[in-house]
């Protein structure tokens, strides 16, 4: 009774056909009967594969084309399709052909041993975990371009980063080298900054003062302009005068100038003489006045002199007469002593000696009185000499210009006095005489000068006449003409000066500027006009202060500017050099840092990748270890199946999995042989035993695998009948133990019968 239905539609030699399959199915058919097609159909229906996998690329497509290949196996119990198994698992374990018993295993990888590959098929999906571990270890230990190691690229990036770091170090060194220059430049900059500040301040002050000065100068220039205008007016006037005075021939003018010069000489000479004459006349007049004065004073003197002479004569006569008469007057001491005695006696009292002294005094006084009065003399009073002298002096005083006092009445004194009067008169007369002589001399000089003056007048008159003959028509007066000439010269001189000044003014301002200045100044003028006069005066004073300050500031600014220019020149050179270097280095540094940043990011990603490889290795190593442990357990199962197949007890040991030589078989005699060195039948038995052991292991752990079909395509054709029988018994036990589906295909009717003898409930299919 079938458990499954294999439905085939347009598949190989089968069109619409169904086959009932049991848990165990034996298919018998001659060559070309369709056994292989049936195997392919079962594999197709029970295997999950892609179009890249060998079942499709190596088997189905070459044999059946690229069509849909409609083949399926359904369970008869519920109609559901059986679960499809993984391709590799089906290919390597579920299809057993005698001719390919171990070839399929060996095909798993030419690089690894069959045991390794087998283990991979069983426990690592056909992948050798050790290959992954080795690959990752190689990536870590020997990163190189070919092994896809992220560390190779990471190391290359590290090298690039080191190169960048070296470049960066160079850039930093260059920057450090510049830092010294930068420091010096900074110092210079600071100095220049200070100078610049100072110059800025100076500039500001200069500008301020210049603005003030410009304003003031503008005002001044405005005044200049006004003056220029005035001068223009004067110039025009002078021009007009000049025009009036023009018209004389140069020759006449020259002659006139000569005559005029002569005239001026004559006039000068005349004036000099007139002055001299006037002076002399004045002196003459003065002398005359003095003479008159002296003469007026001389008359009394003369009277004095005459009086003196007469008096002297009378005196002489008197003296002679007196001498002739004799007699004398009381001595002088007499009245004095008499008065003294009298007053002394009165003072001490009139007794004793005092009375005597008083009496003596009175006597002396009486004598003096008597003698003075002529008492006691015989001559008459008129003959008294003293009286006469006084009389003469009185008479003299009456007649003389000056009265004199007669010192005493002595004759000698009178005579002396008279002599002095006479000498004075004589001196006066000598002086008068001298004056008279001077007057005469002056009169003579005056007369001479009068004559010379007359001659000079005559000369001047001649010159004037000549001059008037040369005068141009309409000009009668040579003086006017001469003045005109002088005026003309003066006018021309002034005109030249004005022209020069005007030219200077115009050149300084320019016509347009001048007009603009005028307009600007007009406004300022209005403002200034409103200012008090004091303010203007103060501003003028301030202007002078500013001018002085400005001069000082300009000098300072000049000095500062020179120093600043020097500093700036040096700075400019350094600035440029340092700027270029620093800018270049800075840009290079940033570019290198960005490159380094990108490389580091890339390296980090690679390290991350490497770490993920390491994590993968860690997981794979765990799985590998686990599969190794499982594989070791399988050894016992293999040994069990192998002994059942060969019919004797042998011991299987695995020293390793990299080569079949590492699997050894020890017989009862204790001979140890590598499995690879056994006979081909024994080796095939070993491999078959291994397959069964593996399948048992898988089916025990994964119940769903029991839907899989173990396809046996004449697997025991190379075995002797005894081993074939043992193999069928082993297979029977395996099927009963695990309930796995078996499909046994053979072209031999004996083999079919032998199989059916063991599996009596097998479904039979005859092709």
């Amino acid at each position: 009774m079938s458990d499954f239905t294999l439905t085939i539609s347009e598949f190989g030699k089968f069109r619409q056909q169904s086959f009932g399959l049991g848990r165990v199915t034996v298919v018998h058919g001659a060559n070309e009967a369709g056994k292989t097609t049936l195997i392919d159909a079962i594999m197709r229906a029970s295997t999950r594969f892609t179009k890249k996998q060998s079942l499709y690329t190596d088997v189905l497509r070459p044999r059946y084309g690229e069509g849909p290949l409609p083949v399926r196996i359904t369970r008869n119990s519920d109609g559901g399709e059986v679960m499809q198994q993984e391709h590799d698992w089906v290919r390597d374990l579920l299809v057993v052909r005698a001719s390919e018993l171990d070839i399929a295993l060996r095909n798993a990888s030419v690089e690894v041993s069959w045991l390794e590959a087998l283990r991979g098929r069983l426990f690592t999906g056909g992948v050798n975990p050790q290959s992954i571990i080795d690959r990752v270890d190689a990536m870590r230990a020997k990163p190189q371009a070919g092994n896809g190691s992220p560390l190779f690229e990471s190391n290359r990036i590290d090298k690039q980063l080191r190169e960048i770091e070296i470049k960066l170090e160079g850039v930093r060194r260059e920057l450090a080298a510049q830092s010294g220059r930068l420091k010096k430049k900074d110092e210079l900059s600071s100095a220049a900054g200070r100078l610049s500040e100072e110059r800025g301040e100076l500039d500001r002050r200069v500008l301020e003062i210049e603005q003030r000065l410009v304003l003031q100068k503008t005002l001044s220039e405005r005044r200049l302009v006004k003056e220029a205008r005035d001068r223009l007016g004067v110039r025009e006037q002078l021009g007009r005068e000049l025009a009036l005075n023009s018209g004389l021939s140069d020759a006449t003018s020259s002659e006139i100038r000569e005559l005029e010069a002569g005239l001026r000489v004559a006039q000068t000479h005349l004036a000099t003489r007139e002055e001299d004459l006037a002076r002399r006349r004045a002196e003459l007049q003065e002398l005359r006045v003095r003479i008159e004065h002296e003469e007026s004073g001389l008359s009394p003197l003369r009277a004095d002199r005459d009086a003196a002479i007469r008096t002297d004569a009378e005196l002489s006569a008197l003296v002679s007469e007196s001498l002739a008469r004799g007699g004398a007057r009381a001595p002088v001491w007499m009245p004095i002593v008499g008065a003294a005695l009298l007053f002394g006696a009165l003072a001490v009292g009139m007794n004793g000696l005092a009375g005597v002294a008083a009496l003596l005094g009175v006597v002396l006084l009486v004598i003096t009185f008597v003698r003075r009065a002529g008492f006691g003399a015989s001559q008459p009073r008129a003959n008294d000499p003293a009286l006469r002298i006084r009389t003469l002096v009185r008479i003299y005083n009456q007649s003389a210009r000056q009265s004199v006092d007669c010192p005493d009445s002595s004759f000698e004194s009178a005579q002396d006095f008279l002599r002095r009067v006479i000498e004075k008169c004589k001196a006066a007369e000598a002086s008068i005489e001298k004056l008279r002589l001077s007057v005469e001399s002056a009169s003579s000089d005056a007369a001479r000068l009068e004559r010379e003056l007359s001659e000079a007048e005559k000369t001047r008159a001649d010159s004037a006449r000549k001059l008037s003959g040369l005068l141009p028509p309409g000009i009668a007066d040579s003086r006017i003409y001469a003045e005109a000439l002088l005026r003309q010269a003066e006018v021309r001189q002034r005109l030249n000066r004005l022209e020069s000044e005007l030219a200077s003014s115009m050149g300084h301002f320019g016509a347009g500027t001048l007009e603009a200045l005028r307009a600007a100044v007009d406004d300022r003028m209005l403002e200034i006009l409103r200012d008090p006069i004091e303010g203007e005066a103060a501003s003028l004073q301030q202007l002078q202060v500013w001018e002085r300050e400005l001069a000082g500031l300009r000098a300072r600014r000049q000095e500062v500017s020179l120093r600043l220019q020097e500093s700036e020149r040096e700075l400019a050179v350094q600035d440029r050099e340092i700027q270029i270097l620093i800018e270049r280095e800075a840009r290079q540094q940033v570019a290198l840092e960005r490159e380094a940043h990108a490389l580091r990011s890339r390296r980090d990603a690679l390290v991350l990748q490497m770490d993920s490889y390491v994590l993968l290795r860690e997981i794979v190593a765990e799985i590998d270890q686990d599969s190794g442990q499982k594989f070791a357990v399988l050894g016992e199962s293999i040994e069990e199946y192998f002994n059942a197949l060969v019919g004797e007890a042998r011991t299987i040991r695995f020293s390793g999995l990299s080569s079949i030589e590492e699997a050894t078989c020890t017989d009862r005699a204790g001979r140890v042989s590598a499995v690879g060195q056994l006979s081909s039948g024994t080796r095939d038995a070993f491999i078959f035993a291994a397959r069964l052991a593996f399948l048992k292991k898988i089916l025990t752990e994964e119940d769903t695998r029991r839907d899989a079909f173990l396809i046996l395509d004449d697997p025991f054709v190379l075995l002797d009948p005894a081993r074939t029988d043992r193999a069928l018994r082993v297979l029977q036990g395996f099927q009963k133990e695990l309930g796995m589906n078996l499909v046994y295909l053979t072209k031999s009717s004996e083999a079919r019968d032998a199989f059916a003898a063991v599996f009596d409930d097998a479904v039979r299919i005859e092709l």
Binding site: R48, T50, E86, H87, D88, W89, G120, F123, T124, G125, G126, V127, N128, P129, S131, I132, R135, G148, S179, L182, D186, S189, S190, G193, R194, S196, E197, G200, L571, D575, I578, Q579, I580, I582, E583, E585, A586, R587, Q589, V590, E593, R594, H597, L608, Q609, D611, S612, Y613, L615, L616, I619, V620, E622, I623
Partner: protein, 354 residues
């Protein structure tokens, strides 16, 4: 003491995706922080807008300006390499950015709260820095704002090339601290005595920017102090690598996203090998609705290779089972190694077949 908020690389986007509203929310959060921290000014160090079309979109621009105008302090803004002022980007110069923003289009010196700020707009080259006409430092501190790359600064982002800012520029101008834009991850570096500080983007812009977002608070007093201020409310970028071959990955993913914030952006990368009959797209479509709405944005990316017949082999199947049993905790390097292992198995399988 002066306080500045240092940020940049907002990459405001007008309409390309849902980043439009989100980017404005981030801008609003920054402006809000300016009030909360009582800063004296904001320093926007470039790439505030992502592309020209973003500030050319008048509607979007007006929304951005409305937020900027609410800022209580001035905003000093230098263009970044996304806002190059040459060529077609030049229109930023004429964009109406509101009353608070001062767009600096040429290298110049700003003095704010007695601090000198050298503002350096992005340029492909800075060779002419000596001719910028910047005077000597006259304040106690001179800092700079700029946008570009720094030599020696190691970063892991995907930023494109930008102008290279070398320390000589800042040494020349007497700058001690430079506050930068361009690199989206915060960090600092000292070069030749000049301190460079990247604030990083205040929001996740690119999918690899998984760090917590924030900005720098700069306090300038006797010395200069920089404090990192994080913005957890902005959300972060989450990248989750998932082994696609594992049929239980949706459950694994759900376990991983526990504790993520509503503003987080989640990118799920399905990696490794995947069976041909595994309808990954259908699985994604079934998972996605459960995630959307819980987070700001959820994206899936497939980086898978076909499994082919790998698991038909019992040995490989055993490897797969052992691999699955070794699943490490997600997110670490071990997890990455684990995910990639099957790919290596596939590679080796092919090589061994040869």
């Amino acid at each position: 003491m002066a306080r500045f908020l240092h940020t940049g690389d907002l990459h405001l986007k007008a309409a390309r995706n849902d980043d439009s509203d989100y980017s404005l929310e981030c801008l609003e959060a920054i402006v809000g922080q300016a009030s909360r921290l009582a800063v004296d000014a904001l320093l926007f160090c470039g790439d505030v807008f992502d592309r020209e079309e973003d500030y050319a979109d008048s509607g979007f621009l007006s929304r951005a300006v409305a937020i900027l105008d609410r800022c209580p302090v001035p905003i000093y803004y230098i263009p970044g390499n996304h806002e190059d002022l040459t060529g077609r980007f030049a229109r930023l110069k004429n964009a109406e950015l509101g009353s608070r923003v001062r767009l600096v289009t040429n290298p110049s010196l700003i003095v704010h709260s007695e601090v000198e700020i050298l503002a350096v707009p992005h340029a492909p080259s800075y060779e002419s820095f000596a001719a910028w006409g910047i005077g000597a430092r006259s304040a106690r501190h001179r800092i700079a704002i700029a946008h570009g790359e720094i030599p020696g600064y190691q970063f892991e982002g995907d930023e494109e090339h930008a102008g290279v800012l070398n320390p000589a520029i800042f040494l020349h101008h007497g700058v001690s601290h430079v506050f930068l834009g361009h690199i989206h991850v915060a960090g600092s570096l000292e070069l030749s005595g000049v301190h460079f500080h990247y604030s990083g983007s205040p929001r996740p812009v690119r999918s690899k920017e998984t760090e917590v977002r924030g900005f720098n608070l700069v306090e300038v007093g006797e010395s200069i102090r920089i404090t990192r201020v994080e913005l957890p409310e902005i959300g972060v970028m989450r990248r989750l690598n998932v082994a696609a071959i594992d049929p239980s990955w949706p459950a694994e993913l759900e376990a991983q996203i526990q504790g993520f914030g509503p503003k987080d952006r989640i990118k799920v990368i399905l990696e490794g090998l995947v069976a041909e009959d595994m309808n990954l797209d259908a699985m994604i479509q079934s998972v996605l609705p459960k995630l959307e709405g819980r987070f700001r944005r959820v994206e899936f990316e497939k980086r898978v290779e076909p499994l082919e017949d790998l698991l038909q082999n019992p040995f490989y199947r055993r490897i797969y089972d052992a691999w699955l049993a070794r699943r490490p905790q997600a997110g670490g390097r071990e997890h990455e190694v684990w995910i990639r292992m099957l790919n290596q198995l596939k590679t080796l399988k092919k090589e061994l077949r040869k």
